[in-house]
């Protein structure tokens, strides 16, 4: 085993150890377990955005739509279909992913800023639907009246509703599944092709790669991941909110990815952690937290465009 591989393994082990032990080290540091759960879920969403942005090189600024669809999918399933947590997760993921797949066919023909504009505009469609269709979605008040259900393993039931630690580990398990899927896809020939498109689209096209189809698949996959993250988020809050579909939420996700480091696999999770903790702290000390978040955007773009991990890697090199 080369030194490089050993180093990677150690880093990976450290990341997972930090995540697994989070409920135990976060509370003494003044945090709370639910905060760790939110970081995990929003980090998963940011990693899904980055799956497209960092590894295929196309910017979707409307990904909150698929996140929100996942949340509504899970919430509506729990409320009207069946009180089953796994079913809700699957339903949310399918709703986000299928809508993404359909709209993706229209979106992938555009590139660059135009891709971003079209994704924003299409994302807003779902915001208006959730906002207007109040008989189903609860409109501006959001979807209420459902809660996550204990998981039935046959022999015993895992209570994830009242026990915050149990729920954290459940979310961590789901997170690990999706992250493993992402890592697996990125290592596959398909993932390598995505990176080739990011690096040089024209050349990839000349090599005979069907670029549009690859971008569509990457977009769709990322929407499925996003829908899953959204479904988890609905379970975190026992609530789904139309603002979760709004483009300003998309902006937050993109910011998390950029702040953590777009070119690295784990960067967005770090970005999400910083962003969520900062937002939590700022909104507790000032009503003008929006200005500070805006300022954060401006400062990161001007001074840390490569993100925290990019910054660390460069100063090491």
């Amino acid at each position: 085993m080369s030194a490089e591989q050993t180093r990677k393994l150690i880093v990976l082990a450290a990341i997972w150890a930090t995540l697994v032990l989070a409920p135990y080290w976060m509370v003494p540091l003044g945090g709370y377990t639910a905060l760790a759960t939110r970081v995990l879920v929003l980090g998963l969403a940011a990693m899904s955005v980055n799956f497209l942005l960092g590894f295929t090189g196309v910017l979707s600024f409307g990904h909150a739509a698929y996140f929100g669809l996942g949340a509504y999918g899970a919430g509506l399933t729990l409320k009207f279909l069946a009180p089953s947590t796994p079913l809700a997760l699957v339903a949310g993921m399918l709703l986000g992913g299928v809508c993404g797949a359909i709209l993706g066919t229209l979106i992938v023909r555009r590139r660059g800023v135009y891709f971003a504009m079209v994704t924003i505009a299409f994302g807003q469609v779902f915001y208006y639907i959730a906002f207007q269709w109040s008989s189903l979605t609860g409109g501006d008040d959001g979807l209420r009246g459902f809660s996550r259900q204990p998981i039935d393993f046959g022999l015993f039931k895992l209570d994830i509703l009242s026990d915050a630690n149990n729920f954290y580990f459940f979310v961590l398990f789901c997170f690990a599944l999706v992250v493993a899927a992402m890592g697996f896809i990125l290592r596959s020939p398909f993932g390598r092709t995505m990176i080739a498109i990011r690096e040089n689209e024209r050349r990839s096209r000349f090599l005979g790669i069907p670029v549009e189809r690859h971008i569509w698949i990457a977009f769709t996959l990322s929407c499925f991941f996003m829908g899953f993250a959204g479904a988890l988020y609905a379970l975190v809050n026992n609530f789904a909110d139309p603002r979760g579909l709004h483009y300003s939420q998309s902006g937050d996700f993109v910011m998390m990815a950029v702040m953590g480091g777009m070119r690295s696999f784990w960067g967005p999770l770090l970005g999400a952690a910083v962003f969520v903790v900062l937002q939590d702290y700022l909104s507790s000390i000032t009503v003008n937290w929006m200005s500070f978040v805006g300022l954060l955007f401006v400062l990161v773009v001007l001074f840390f465009p490569r993100g925290l991990l990019g910054f660390i890697q460069r100063s090491k090199a």
Binding site: L59, A116, M117, Q124, G294, V298, V301, L302
Partner: protein, 289 residues
């Protein structure tokens, strides 16, 4: 029924005129600088609040003349300090920066002027309806449309006949060649940005007289302006105008038959246009990709 339809079409045209003004500014900046200006709605709010602040001293007419150039100067400063370093980088960064800027502007106006709506007094003779049959056409609405038409005409004169305008259009097509011909591209981008922000400031003053002012009002007008650009065709200013008017009228007419869908219909229009004619109604081949 005819009157109701007429009412909503007029409404749609007036709203459409707003979208046109906003979208033209966005479009100018997008075409030359490849920057999606998310803070455009924020600059509209700045224009409106400047008008609100100075109307007591110099009256509505004075505010209409002074507020847009003041907004443009603020825009110029923002472009110099914040946006200029980002040209040549991935458009993602200017998008994120202006997105953050929009937050700061919204929160800042709320901090300074409070979250409640503020009225801007318009001259009394403009507030009168024209006649009893057409109660919905107030003098102010006609005046708004007239101002928009004048502004658009002036913009086209600027772009067609002045040296600055010709350079802007040339830069839109091929910025490298324009730079190679010895034209100061940085300056060109700054002035172009200022023209775009001027239009946003003007829409702000006009909107303030019609709708009143709220810190969040810019956000609501931003998205339809995006769609106006996409529907009309990216890279084409006449297309942007057409797109703005079309979506205004479409949402006005939908409001008659299916009020809940009046917001959604513009997105449907966009989807249809993208499906049938991806470059937009008047867009040039290749501009969308």
């Amino acid at each position: 029924m005819t009157q109701l339809l007429l009412f909503n079409i007029t409404n749609g045209l007036i709203i459409g005129a707003f979208y046109v003004l906003m979208a033209l500014g966005l479009s100018l900046i997008l075409n030359l600088s490849n920057t999606i200006n998310f803070a455009h709605g924020g600059f509209l709010v700045i224009g409106g609040y400047i008008a609100y602040a100075i109307t007591p001293y110099i009256g509505f007419w004075g505010a209409l003349l002074i507020a847009p150039p003041l907004t443009a100067i603020i825009g110029l400063a923002v472009e110099r300090v914040l946006i200029r370093p980002l040209y040549g980088r991935d458009p993602l960064y200017s998008l994120l920066l202006t997105f953050g800027l929009a937050f700061i502007i919204e929160d800042g106006t709320r901090f300074i002027f409070g979250p409640q709506g503020k009225p801007v007094t318009i001259p009394p003779f403009l507030a009168q309806p024209l006649s009893n049959d057409f109660f919905f056409i107030t003098g102010y609405r006609l005046f708004m449309v007239a101002v928009v038409m004048i502004a658009v005409a002036l913009l086209f004169v600027l772009l067609r006949y002045t040296r600055l305008g010709i350079r802007i259009r040339a830069g839109t097509l091929d910025l490298e060649t324009v730079a190679a011909l010895g034209i100061n591209v940085q300056m060109l981008r700054s002035l172009n940005f200022a023209v775009g922000i001027f239009l946003a400031g003007l829409s702000g003053v006009l909107a303030a007289g019609q709708l009143g002012l709220e810190p969040t009002m810019g956000t609501g007008l931003l998205m339809p302006s995006f769609i106006a650009i996409i529907v009309g065709g990216i890279g084409s200013l006449p297309g942007t105008m057409l797109g703005g008017l079309l979506i205004g009228v479409a949402s006005g007419m939908t409001a008659v038959f299916l009020p809940a869908a009046s917001e959604a219909v513009i997105y449907v229009m966009m989807a249809v246009v993208l499906l049938i004619r991806p470059r937009g109604l008047l867009g040039e081949e290749g501009m969308m990709s």
